[in-house]
Symmetry: C2
Subunit: 430 residues, 2 copies
């Protein structure tokens, strides 16, 4: 497969070294980027994608979401977190069946493909159905059957989670990965969290979790354990496992917390929209980044965002930290692109992703720079962060396979998924 | 014309009274909404628009922008305001010709139509060309040939502005309105501002201006006049003219400033994205709203946003004030919809706009609620604010005329406008 006549934003580990290669061609062979040529190659091939007027960037990585929650999008808004969770979200989730979850994940997969996301980290239940949708739609995912002590008195769910990891981790040509994960410190006691950590060490799994999302969580932990949530999890060995270690939210952080995350090589999945919408606060991303912590972007579930668009998060991330710091040079476009690509790849321990370079795995998205809300794209990195929206994503390639071309999703039936999830929402919360 | 089978969010002056009328029909006759019927009417008519799966809302009002600046989109980002203005923006603007401005306005008009904006307030120069584009594209605008003392030593520009008002105000079936306006207090001396105020009183014009955008503007004004920018303009009679009175930005405000704006019936055009991107600060919208000031939403120019999407601003407005106040019930979806519709209509002194009701002028947009990034739209007002983006706008009607249907702009050549503005950008800043 050849993508010709395209401008490439290559992305580098160091944001200052992102490079724009104009009017180049990308040769994809199997799952890999075989070659990048700084010229337009005249070819006669069935599998040529014309990249004229488009910008090629590495597929965006959404490091924290709950895909099956898409049936709860636009339900129960403008509410207090506790009321929202206990009177609306938890009761609705109790009604969800496995088959329903399959369609909800499918819709989320389609939404992410359509907005340029090629890889995401999921934390929920019904993971077999989630894996089925990932297999079919061709997207890449790190799937965690999230567990909590309060809902797992017999340990059956932790067993299910371990079993899922063993069956699915590194399957589907590397498109499906898995980790274990305790939901959060406030839904499990110390013994249960220790069991999750032990299990992770046993089977060689990484760990995901929600961490320091709200002030209440932070204050309660201090009162109960005389430690911050980060210190508490660290004391249980949560950050000493091998492989993927993602802490989502990290809104309320002390300097010592930041040092711990850096020392233990934990990646932070920031969820800016969700934290604003639920009024949880604003994560100290500049401080985390200055300390060398690997910061990435998540959307959280559709119920608290209410999108799964990493491009939305990129724009918001840049704007909000400029505004808060009163420094317009803060959180510039290049840095934000790193958060959503190369840092995301690092968070899931995949050094073959997150950049468009020879030898890398071909997760590539083409963004339309000639859209009337993006053109003129004089500075393509700024156009990507400040002007482009999900609807400007034209073509999506994951693991060398074209999942969307000209806005048409090739690997799933979009109308059917919308129809099914509307019906589920109608039934449960309509 | 009949829009059938549609859900209508009617909007009211009081945000709490917004009403959802499901599966209704809207009869449009000429420029007016003749009738709304709470039933699906079986008809055989050429001019039927099927509203199934769509939400009808009043056309969005963008109360502050500079349309001709679209050639500067994605040029000079992540910069300090003073460097940005004096080393990048002003020199580039000097190169712009009238014919170039025409195409830049045209692109901006297309972008706004495509994102559901039916009316905007413009502050720039080359206003004859701006009016030409507004006439052709069918959108509604309040056009101000913005003037400043430092660039108008002979008074020729103020004369041009007065002349433009006389020729264009309330023309084009009411689609074009006009006001005078001094750009800002820091680009005109007291005498010049007084002349603008006198001229407005002479010809019966309203006034627009930039007000208290940056801390520097505020501090300099205090040092020079021992008054805040708001107090200073008020002392010159700026807020005593009749008709449209719009103060854009209003980031740095005292309680007394807020009282003045309320007492003098001045509408505030908030420009949240632009103020964040240029790190000017965050306007006290909750305080302004609590005091009864008419708060509305603007995008500012494409050079500092970098879009002209009021839907973007709606989502951002709700999220940021929830986050800052740590109150998830703050700035709810219904309130934000008011800012972008009925409050916008009030700001431009048009009580026939901003709501979908019998007898109102037909500025109506239909938003696709079945988009995979919007569905399920269990709470349609939340879907509009938190999920919908410009790309979900399906149909746009302004003054009874269909400007876009099924995402296809009928009143302008989109590709041509993109082509021309890219060429202009290439020439001036490429």
């Amino acid at each position: 497969m050849l993508i010709k006549n395209v401008d490439i934003l290559t992305v580098s580990k160091d944001a200052k070294s992102h490079e724009l290669r104009k009017n180049a061609s990308i040769v994809v062979k199997g799952e890999k980027i075989e070659k990048i040529i700084d010229a337009n190659i005249p070819v006669d091939d069935n599998e040529v994608i014309d990249g004229k007027g488009k910008l090629a960037v590495a597929g965006l990585v959404n490091t924290h979401t709950h895909t099956a929650m898409s049936f709860l999008r636009n339900y129960a808004n403008d509410m207090n977190l506790q009321d929202w969770l206990f009177t609306k979200i938890f009761p609705a989730e109790d009604e969800l069946t496995a088959e329903m979850a399959y369609w909800c994940v499918k819709l989320a997969n389609i939404e992410m493909i359509k907005s340029g996301v090629t890889c995401y980290c999921d934390n929920y239940f019904f993971m077999d159905e989630a894996a089925r949708s990932v297999e079919e739609t061709g997207i890449r995912a790190v799937l965690s059957r999230s567990v909590s002590g309060i809902s797992d008195p017999t340990g059956a769910k932790l067993k299910e989670s371990i079993d899922f990891f063993k069956r699915y981790h590194n399957t589907c040509n590397g498109r499906i990965m898995s980790t274990l994960g305790a939901h959060a410190i406030y839904t499990s006691d110390t013994d249960y969290i220790k069991r999750v950590v032990d299990a992770a060490n046993d089977i060689g799994s990484g760990l995901q979790t929600h961490l320091s999302e709200t002030r209440t969580e932070f204050d309660d932990c201090m009162a109960q354990h005389n430690m911050t949530p980060t210190q508490y999890l660290d004391s249980l060995g949560y950050f000493d496992v091998d492989g993927i270690k993602i802490a989502a939210h990290c809104v309320h952080m002390t300097n010592n917390d930041i040092e711990i995350l850096k020392a233990k090589d934990v990646s932070v999945a920031a969820n800016i929209s969700s934290n604003l919408k639920l009024a949880s606060g604003i994560a100290p991303l500049p401080e985390l980044m200055a300390a060398g912590v690997n910061v990435t972007l998540g959307t959280d579930g559709a119920s608290s965002n209410n999108n799964l668009s990493v491009l939305n998060e990129m724009r918001l991330t840049s704007l909000i930290y400029k505004g808060l710091s009163m420094d317009p040079t803060a959180m510039n476009a290049k840095q934000v692109i790193s958060l959503a690509t190369s840092n995301g790849a690092k968070a899931i321990s995949r050094n073959d992703l997150g950049e468009i370079k020879e030898g890398m795995t071909a997760d590539i998205v083409l963004i339309d720079m000639d859209s009337p809300s993006v053109a003129p794209a004089t500075e393509p990195d700024a156009a990507l962060v400040y002007s482009a929206s999900g609807a400007d994503v034209d073509t999506v390639i994951c693991n060398g396979r074209v999942l969307m071309k000209g806005r048409k999703v090739l690997s799933a039936d979009e109308e059917r998924a919308v129809f099914e999830v509307k019906r589920i929402a109608e039934k449960i919360v309509g």
